[in-house]
């Protein structure tokens, strides 16, 4: 049997979920024998490939780039997993939604002008710096998602539990404290 084509992607999040993935320790070696990691922040592949079996998505949908790659991922992937609280709930990145309709201008002003010591200016470079969306959303508000892996970050054991089920050809099902947010 061909090895399972797995991708991981990092949208609006802190990379903590990916750190937790690396925390799988020796299970990573077992995993390496059973999957082909076709796209990931830890793999040097620039373009999201076709025919991916499973993609773990870290982070909330915060900017235009996030949204664009998400649609590409959905079109090219069989199974999407919202990986961690930002992807599942919006979590901390979505707190800016509270600031209302002009939250984008307000937070950029605060971060890049009011708190800047040198060269206060809002970064603008079309095609290089992606524009922020007016409203940060969890992944499933933008595209359909098959499974959810909550946690901030999901502990390595929880990731292992889900990946083991996926590799065993089972419908992943986490229960009880394995679904704890935070």
């Amino acid at each position: 049997m061909d090895r399972l084509k797995v991708a991981t992607v990092w949208l609006g999040g802190c990379a903590g979920c990916h750190m937790s993935f690396l925390d799988l320790d020796e299970f990573l070696i077992e995993l390496a024998g059973k999957i082909e990691l076709v796209y990931s922040p830890v793999v040097d592949v620039k373009e999201y490939p076709e025919n991916v079996d499973v993609c773990l998505i870290e982070g909330a949908v915060c900017n235009e780039d996030n949204l664009e790659i998400l649609h590409k991922i959905r079109a090219r992937t069989k199974v999407l997993v919202s990986f961690g609280d930002c992807a599942v709930t919006g979590n901390v990145p979505a707190l800016r939604n509270k600031l209302g309709l002009h939250n984008v201008e307000n937070i950029l002003q605060r971060a890049y002008v009011e708190n800047a010591q040198n060269n206060p200016a809002i970064p603008k470079a079309d095609g290089i710096v992606p524009r922020l969306l007016e409203r940060v959303t969890p992944v499933h508000e933008a595209v359909s998602v098959e499974y959810f892996l909550p946690g901030c970050p999901p502990p390595a054991d929880r990731i292992k539990a889900l990946m083991t089920q996926v590799l065993g050809g089972k419908e992943p099902k986490l229960e009880g404290a394995n679904l704890k947010f935070g």
Binding site: T89, V92, A94, N97, G100, F148, F181, G182
Partner: protein, 238 residues
Amino acid sequence: MAAKTLTIDGTQVSAEEGATVLQVARDHGIEIPTLCHLEGVYDVGACRLCLVEVAGIAKLLPACTTKISEGMELKTNSERLQKYRRMTLELLFAERSHVCAVCVSNGHCELQTLAYSHGMEHVRYDYCFPKWKVDVTHRLFGMDHNRCILCARCVRVCWHIEGAGTKNVSGRGASANIINDLNQPWGQSDSCTECGKCVMSCPTGALFHKGSTVAEMVHDRDKLEFIVNAREKKQWIV
């Protein structure tokens, strides 16, 4: 008092007239999830998690405020109830901003625990992101309205255990919120005795001790239980 006979999940039980469905179920080891219920204060049926099915009644009824009656047939854990409980939990999460990862009560939160024990792996509704404030004007305690689920436990312990009457609910529906005295900053309340019972009673991280950070807020619920036990059973057991 007269005894009543009823059926809970197919088991015949008898209990004293005047007892609630919740009391009788718990006395017989049948667990019904609750969030606004707190031992020692009266029930208000605010959270809707303890809804049960009663044969012959189309509406679901809250176990905490429904009194038992002769021949009552109850279901406490049907598929229909599980569906509504999960929905209720999701709506609670969607209504305000519950961000477990940065909450003082992470790991000690009744809402968080109920969510995962009911299989809530995500919220299907759009989050509302309402703009609520944080009141840190009190010398000892803080109130983050973003984490409040309006269970009114704090109001009930304040009025009926401490007898101060500082906390109240103002407004209706989604704009309802907990206030102090005549809607003043907590720190300017004349009636607050600084007893901290509201903080002990809170199921989430809405009420907290100042200075506690993520996951540090433990509610010391046993202090409340001690007072209630002393009052109701005249037993002063630590």
